[in-house]
Subunit: 201 residues, 4 copies
DNA sequence: GATGAATGAGTCTTCATTCAT
DNA sequence: AATGAATGAAGACTCATTCAT
């Protein structure tokens, strides 16, 4: 038998991963059985196991891929120059997260919550996440420096603290909209702009 | 054994709940077996089941109790008058969350992440959480109104949007400090204050 | 504490037995838990166990008592003189079984089916039943002799075979009316009389 | 292991069913654990569960199959023409029941008692049984009509009542021989013939 | 005597993973 | 390479029985 082409292999991987996402978000990481995924992917057990050697590996891959997709979506927003002000940036990131959610067969926010939860007990997953969020926060810190230079923020503003605040706002948006479901990106942005608006002494 | 006193019953319940918290946060909600909890509580299976009729019920109770404890801790901060400014309020809430974590045998942030994840697939848990976060956000909205009246925020600030932003900041702090573990309450507060500080035109 | 009077003890026993019958017939012998019976009797576990040392004992007592009650009801019918003809006797026995069923809080036929089933795996119960059915069949044999002497049955009729046939008819009535539920005592009697009616050569 | 052939699947099913019959009749329906059956079948838990999704389903299948086998055995006897007289028919049916018992690894009478008992609390089983006994009784009614036409029974005999009587005789034979164990088919037939024999006025 | 909380072995069932074909 | 039947350890939960109070 001829070896399967690399393309086909990659396509299969994606097919499995997408089946996994669908199941995970519907039933959660642990309540989803390998059989659920196998059936959703329309493959055999052996086939799935030839791509992912264990359920843990599949979970890790699913979360890593999600994170990667997210990064690809958000990176351009942070690279834009001139950099939009904080409220505008937050709005656009929130929009990207929401849009992703709607377009694809899975909800990025749900995957995020599942992943964070799982990261509590999975060292490798935790490391993967640190490898994503830490650089992301570093970029936010650069943005903060830019805002400070542009006098959007005060001169003495600690850029690392601003980055932490910004990351919290974004992560919190994910939680809040997943649990309460009524937070529009613009609401978040407007709330933040209210903070930024200078008051008359 | 004759009828046990109400006190002892409550004590046993707490004993089981604490064992559950410990296990849950160590291994996660699903990877924790009832047997783990039973052994951690030092009781028999039957005894545990006479207090909580199922694992789901135990999970629900664990999360609900955590949420209740958290509410009891945060409520006074929001009731204080004069109301501290936004950055100060955020700092104190974050401190309470962090402190709770350290003192008790469980980490409130981990429990929160586990609970959010589980709420995706558990209707009752989701409702319990809505019943907690929605009123909490309503109180934050009152605080926003107060800040607006005190001219801490601009007159035209939408108080509901401010409340959503504030809730995001707090929830995001929980996630960020649970995953990255390097976010001091004061850092968050300082980041937020930077936003609030008026810039010279 | 003064010893409980014998009367009270007997009343308690009956109370427990009746609770057991109710539960058994509703859920079956094995699906009924001791707790079901305990609650139905309105007593404590200890109390029930002071009357019946085990579930098996309780089952045995329940069946034995049922059988005893049945015997008390049927005995007079067989003692009547002149003895009614076979079809009439069958009708009256079937009526007694049906009536018992309706009046009391339990269905004698259901108890019978449960008991027969249980007797398969319970030596003592099987013996108890033999101790009931064997003498009963002996009495039927006496009846057969009487019928033969009265020329209701042919002279050469084997009375033991007739007794076996009669017992089958009665036991079969219990099964058929429990499972199909549409067999009136008179139908059974009429069916039997059709057999007995002499045909013109 | 690739797809198993239909034959092998059917063979496995039978293998499990036979193991179940053996266990059920030895220990009863409820006292038999799935583990008993699994070991008796020489398979793994998963294998058994892939053929029967639950114990209830296995019980239902065991009883249904028994009933089906019984039907296959009895049908020819009722289809014979000329139709044997009632006593002869009963004898042959009783013989078939007894023979089945001896040849196979299970006792049809015991299975019947267990099934009747279980049918009390199992709606589906009850329906299955009605679906078996009602048509069987209908065929007996046809036989009764035939006997009436042949002047074996009186002209005014109610065929439905005769059918009920005949069914009772057969069901009662099952009970009596299972509990008392000393009823030969011929004894039953002879008892019935005694009834049928015309007496001189 | 009575109570009912506690025990813990045993039940049914699931599911990640393997490997014979 | 692919299949999917089979494995069997582990999980949630029940319940007859006991015994400290």
């Amino acid at each position: 038998m001829p070896k399967i082409s690399d393309e086909r292999r990659a396509a299969r991987r994606t097919q499995i991963l997408e089946a996994a996402w669908t199941c995970f978000q519907r039933r959660g990481l642990h309540a989803t059985s390998m059989d659920d995924i196998i059936r959703a992917a329309g493959l055999s057990a052996g086939a799935v196991y030839s791509y992912f050697p264990s359920k843990e590996e599949l979970i890790l891959a699913a979360v890593t891929t999600s994170l990667g997709n997210l990064r690809a979506l958000i990176a351009p927003l942070l690279a834009e120059r001139p950099l939009p002000p904080p409220d505008e940036l937050v709005r656009r990131i929130a929009e990207v997260i929401t849009a992703y959610t709607v377009h694809e067969a899975y909800d990025l926010r749900r995957i995020a919550l599942l992943g964070w939860s799982e990261a509590q007990r999975n060292e490798r997953l935790r490391e993967t996440m640190r490898g994503f969020y830490l650089p992301f926060r570093a970029v936010l810190e650069e943005a903060a420096a830019q805002w400070r230079d542009e006098r959007v923020l005060p001169e003495q503003a600690a850029t690392d603290d601003v980055a932490k605040l910004m990351l919290s706002v974004i992560l919190g948006f994910v939680v809040q909209s997943a649990i309460l479901g009524d937070v529009a990106p613009s609401a978040l942005a407007d709330g933040l702009r209210a903070m930024l608006t200078p008051q008359p002494a």
